[in-house]
């Protein structure tokens, strides 16, 4: 029986789709490889919903099994609900279903202004229409030191979750785990323009929270 370390070496180069097909055929090594590749991002995604690490792990475990079951539907042909070459996005979608069922908190993009409107001069200002009225202060060395402090990762995670599940999920998949924008859109069941709009609001929400943190020092 191959060890888990050997499984990692032999599957690193295989595409997700190949691994999912192998899982479908009962290949345990392929399953381990897929889990190693994507489980951390999926747990981080589940943690955007209320609950702790245990609940998030349960959501993701359920999502893996749902993904295998969906792969079965259709007698071996690819489930049309699974986007081609987008295994992790399909897994992300399953995680979101599980977390939504568990918490009853739906993924809804908030309708918030991008930047506080009063930070810009009005549209009809005689001289400075739509220019900054209250511009951001450049982040210098003090900000860099603050960003490197030991408590920053925890603060970033807290501030991200405080943005609500939709914005937190967008930041987690795109900026923390580097998923392609199109994959994020599939996982969150959004069009790409909607996904970019959500990401824009999410990045601005977190930037503003960090700006408040840094300016308060």
């Amino acid at each position: 029986m191959p060890t888990l370390a050997r499984i990692r070496m032999s599957t690193d180069a295989l595409a997700d789709e190949v691994l999912l097909d192998a899982c479908r055929a009962g290949d345990e090594g392929a399953f381990v490889a897929l889990v190693r590749r994507h489980h951390p991002a999926l747990v981080a995604l589940a943690r955007c919903w209320p609950g702790g690490a245990y609940e998030a792990q349960r959501d993701v475990a359920g999502a893996w099994m749902a993904l295998l079951r969906h792969a079965d539907r259709g007698g071996g042909s690819r489930d049309p609900a699974l986007p081609a070459r987008c295994v992790r996005a399909a897994a992300g979608r399953e995680v979101i279903r599980a977390a939504t069922r568990r918490t009853n908190v739906a993924l809804q993009a908030p309708d918030v202004p991008l930047v506080e409107p009063d930070r810009f001069f009005a549209h009809d200002h005689e001289l400075w229409a739509d220019e900054w009225a209250d511009p951001p202060r450049p982040w210098g060395r003090m900000a860099a030191r603050r960003m490197d402090q030991a408590d920053m990762p925890r603060l970033l995670m807290r501030r991200t979750r405080e943005l609500g599940v939709a914005r937190a999920a967008a930041l987690t998949l795109r900026d923390v785990h580097g998923w392609a924008l199109a994959e994020c859109a599939v996982a969150l069941d959004l069009s790409e323009p909607q996904m970019r709009s959500l990401l824009r609001a999410a990045r601005e929400g977190l930037r503003a929270a960090l700006e408040a943190e840094i300016d308060s020092r």
Partner: protein
């Protein structure tokens, strides 16, 4: 023949276009307008740097490992799925 030049973007427009700019989905002409604005606007330059810093900080939160106990549990579940399927 004179070329029609697009008007200068204002700061609010640059902020609204920033994600598309950073994601590389802006048409080249729009991209050029954003960059022309940034060359002359220290406030928007500061804003862009803050957004880039925020994205960079998020990238450092990435967790890569799956705890052994979690992996074993998932493998057990996989075996259960496989035997139920057989």
């Amino acid at each position: 023949m004179s070329e029609l030049r697009a008007p200068r973007l204002n700061c609010r427009e640059v902020v609204e276009l920033l994600t598309d700019y950073l994601e590389g989905v802006l048409p080249q002409a729009e991209r050029d307008r954003v960059e022309a604005h940034l060359q002359t606007c220290p406030d928007c330059t500061a804003y862009v740097k803050q957004v880039r810093t925020t994205i960079g900080a998020l990238g450092r939160l990435r967790e890569e490992t799956v705890p052994d106990a979690v992996l074993e549990e998932l493998v057990e579940a996989f075996r259960g799925w496989k035997s139920a399927d057989a």
